[in-house]
């Protein structure tokens, strides 16, 4: 059966304050993402770029403790997730759309064994008995390459990598058609990170589920994504198939971000630096939000928000200066 995709259209998320004199925080501004069925779409950006807020909005877990305005639509199986009631969302969350977070310890209950925690998801969504769920838990643990005895262990008895595997097992136990992974390997050591990325890639390919993969790490994104969108100050500034984006980046932000990653080949040469820092959501500059840090900015960049234009198959970017730039190597 073909799995469904998720289509985010013109999503805007603004955090507001009770005090009308305080400007709202425009965390996400007019973001559209099509996550094709069975594909990994990566959302990459620096902290505060709005990537996690976008993911959390899909799950309906943004704004529980904040005043928030959400516009746009998120289509999943012909329904707009933003219009569903809490009950309807709860039945989708965890069952059809699962989420994997950065710090498994924060999301695992320290006082319950791993087996029971994974089983509870099945009990909640399918009404399985504990006995029936245990069998499925065993299957799931072997799918994430954990020995079956881990079912009887408590989270503190596991290493960081094993905890992340347990969380992946918990996320995938209902066979979701879609997974949101928010920096799932960020706190792990590099050898463990590699194992977890390989595991995620294999599970994703086996079950043909779609994935929205959030990361600040370009190298990690390059190793797992089919399609990459780069976010800056709440907007997607460039979006392209993975190989195209890394071989032929168009937006100055994407280009400079790629060049600012240290590599041994560049030893002795200074790193390319993007001066200044990203604006916060309350003070987003007029025009192109990147213009104060952009070495190519001209007048129009300060005045007008650049439109998103298409430059190749599935390759789009928002910048006034594309095509007017020459080599950007240094």
């Amino acid at each position: 059966m073909e799995q469904p995709g998720i289509f985010i259209r013109n999503l805007a998320v603004t955090f507001t304050s009770r005090d009308p004199s305080i400007p709202g925080g425009r965390a996400v501004r007019n973001v559209s993402i099509a996550i094709e069925p069975g594909k990994v779409h990566a959302l990459v950006g620096e902290s505060g770029s709005g990537k996690s807020v976008t993911a959390r909005t899909v799950l309906g877990i943004v704004g529980a403790d904040a005043r928030v305005e959400i516009q746009g639509s998120i289509d999943f199986r012909g329904r707009n997730l933003l219009e569903l009631s809490d009950d309807e969302l709860r039945s989708i969350r965890g069952k059809e759309i699962a989420m994997i977070f950065q710090e498994p310890s924060r999301y695992l209950n320290p006082s319950i064994t791993i087996g029971v925690q994974i089983g509870e998801v099945l009990e909640a969504h399918f009404g399985l008995s504990r006995r029936a769920s245990l069998e499925r838990v065993g299957e799931m643990l072997s799918a994430v390459e954990l020995p079956s005895r881990v079912a009887r262990r408590y989270p503190h008895e596991l290493s960081g990598g094993m905890k992340q595997r347990a969380m992946i097992a918990m996320a995938l136990v209902c066979n979701p058609s879609f997974v949101l992974a928010d920096e799932p390997t960020t706190s792990l050591d590099v050898t463990v990170q590699k194992q977890i990325l390989e595991l995620l890639a294999r599970l994703q390919a086996d079950s043909r589920m779609g994935m929205l993969f959030i990361s600040h790490d370009l190298a990690v994104v390059q190793s797992i994504a089919d399609h990459v969108s780069v976010m800056y100050a709440g907007r997607i500034v460039e979006s392209a198939p993975r190989d195209e984006l890394f071989a032929n980046p168009l937006h100055p932000y994407t280009r400079q971000l790629l060049l600012s990653v240290p590599r041994s080949e560049r030893r002795g040469l200074p790193l390319t630096v993007i001066p200044g820092r990203a604006p916060d959501a309350q003070n987003i500059p007029e025009g192109c939000a990147f213009h104060p840090r952009c070495r190519y900015a001209v007048d129009v960049c300060r005045r007008e928000m650049p439109a998103e234009l298409v430059y190749g198959p599935s390759h789009s970017a928002s910048c006034h200066m594309i095509g007017k730039l020459n080599g950007d190597s240094e």
Binding site: G160, D189, A219, R267
Partner: protein, 271 residues
């Protein structure tokens, strides 16, 4: 010429478990760690969490006295120093940590944080303000902001202030323990460039600790790879990257996610 820093068979044994210190099981956090750093060079110490990198750093500065081994930095041997002389040594070898938020006292303005360092070094009161301005200028912070509190600066700016404060002690040797790990890529590049420039202009010697292999390969003249408290491989960066000998080094390098390809990546040595 002999190396600027020489560490020989450094071992630190902790006791784990037990109510009293002597009851616990012995645990070798680092085991006979030896390395040397030439003057003005960067030694990158790389390894995964818990391998003992930070214990090495703390032992060198005698923040934790090592169980055995010897250390020489310039002309001093910190293990033979006590009291005021040890404090004097720690001034000449500064350490910068990952956790910027804990490094600065939130109740002190930037000026007072740095002034504290200058006073302990005996800089005359009238000279201090001028020197603080120079130091802030050196790390790219506007001296006009010296009366602000740490909370009004971003993470990257706070790390610059921490670096300025370390430089106030006029160290010859800096230990940098994951100094950019909590920073965004674009901010990380700014701090890395700053550190490399300071090394050049002030003639500093660095022990640079990180779990980030890309960063270590970029910044280091030589690299030491640690695993389970032991240095498993140590050599000139170029050679170690091109031809790692120890199986663990190879595992570590092969675990780097597919290389980010910039414009000039076609001749990448590892692709």
């Amino acid at each position: 010429m002999s190396p600027f820093v020489e560490v020989h068979e450094l071992t630190k044994i902790y006791r784990r478990g037990g109510v009293f210190q002597w009851e616990g099981r012995k645990f070798r956090a680092i085991d006979r760690v030896s390395f040397s750093i030439e003057e003005h060079e960067v030694l990158g110490l790389v390894g995964e969490s818990g391998c003992g990198k930070t214990t090495v750093a703390r032992s060198i500065l005698c923040l934790d006295r090592p169980t055995s081994g010897s250390i020489r930095i310039g002309n001093s041997n910190p293990l033979e120093l006590r009291g005021a002389k040890l404090r004097g040594f720690r001034r000449s070898a500064q350490m910068i940590f990952q956790d910027v938020d804990r490094a600065l006292d939130p109740r002190l303005t930037v000026r007072r944080s740095i002034e504290e360092a200058l006073r302990s070094r005996g800089v005359a009161r009238e000279r201090r303000r001028e020197r603080i301005a120079e130091l802030l200028e050196l790390v790219g912070i506007s001296p006009d902001t010296m009366e602000h509190y740490p909370s009004s600066f971003s993470g990257g700016q706070r790390q610059r202030i921490v670096i300025a404060r370390a430089l106030a002690m006029e160290p010859k040797f800096l230990i940098l323990d994951e100094p950019v790990s909590n920073l965004d890529v674009s901010i990380q590049a700014q701090i890395v460039n700053l550190l490399m420039e300071l090394r050049r202009t002030l003639g500093l010697t660095y022990l640079f600790i990180s779990h980030d292999l890309n960063l270590i390969s970029y910044i280091s003249d030589s690299i030491a790879v640690m695993k389970d408290g032991v240095i498993v491989e140590h050599g000139a960066a170029e050679q170690l990257i091109r031809k790692p000998h120890h199986p663990y080094t190879r595992t570590l390098f092969s675990a780097i996610p597919e290389h980010v390809r910039g414009e000039e990546s076609s001749d990448s040595p590892r692709s």
